[in-house]
């Protein structure tokens, strides 16, 4: 539960969840682009990866490889 509250305490991480609810199955590139263009948040790709890892460890986001691609999904069963 601590992980969950920590994960959603950050507005950037909440923006990810909003974006994944809008369109599930996004690449890291698409998530970064949406963050910059729609939310005006200009984080580095590395910082964004770290934030995604926090969401994944709280089981809010799942990352899945599909062949050579990797997509991110909102975990509805959380």
């Amino acid at each position: 539960m601590d992980d969950l509250y920590r994960a959603i305490a950050d507005p950037t991480r909440r923006a990810f969840l909003d974006d994944l609810i809008e369109r599930d199955g996004q690449s890291l590139f698409e998530l970064c682009r949406r963050l910059t263009m729609k939310h005006g948040i200009g984080s580095s790709r590395q910082a964004i990866s770290q934030r995604l890892e926090v969401l994944q460890s709280a089981s809010l986001v799942m990352a899945r490889r599909e062949g050579r691609y990797k997509f991110h999904w909102f975990n509805e069963n959380h």
């Binding site: 996004q26 890291l28 050579r68």
Partner: protein
């Protein structure tokens, strides 16, 4: 100084030539034998004297890991401009092109990303970036 040529690293030049001409609709401009490979460039039929795109062999050992890492994260190698992205997205999808990102409106531009079957993702955009 002008930019007259750009390139994409492709895993198979013959396959790339087919995809970039028959599927994307570019025209072959140069095709010159160069040892075991060829110097192949394509141009847009809308701008046949414009920038040439070289379909370059990706045989250097550093290139394949670099390309794989970009593809995994969904990052396009390069970007082309289209007039009607919705129509182009539909046209390419009907030809079996795999999109990793559908057409998304970001306000100033609309962009989509597809797989060129030669180890790269390519972005197409409509909007202020190409005007």
């Amino acid at each position: 100084m002008r930019i007259t040529q750009s390139s994409v690293p492709v895993d198979d030049q013959e396959k790339a030539l087919r995809f970039y001409t028959e599927t994307l609709g570019f025209q072959k401009k140069h095709d010159i034998p160069m040892g075991e490979h060829r110097w192949i460039t394509v141009v847009s039929p809308e701008d046949p004297d414009g920038t040439e795109l070289c379909l370059e062999p990706d045989e250097h050992p550093a290139v394949k890991p670099f390309k794989s890492a970009l593809v995994k994260d969904g990052i396009p190698f390069t970007s082309f401009a289209v007039r009607d992205i919705a129509a182009e997205h539909q046209r390419l999808k009907s030809l079996g092109v795999r999109f990793t990102q559908p057409s998304i409106d970001y306000g100033t531009i609309t962009a989509a990303v597809f797989d060129d079957t030669c180890g790269n993702l390519i972005q197409i955009t409509q909007g202020s970036m190409e005007s």
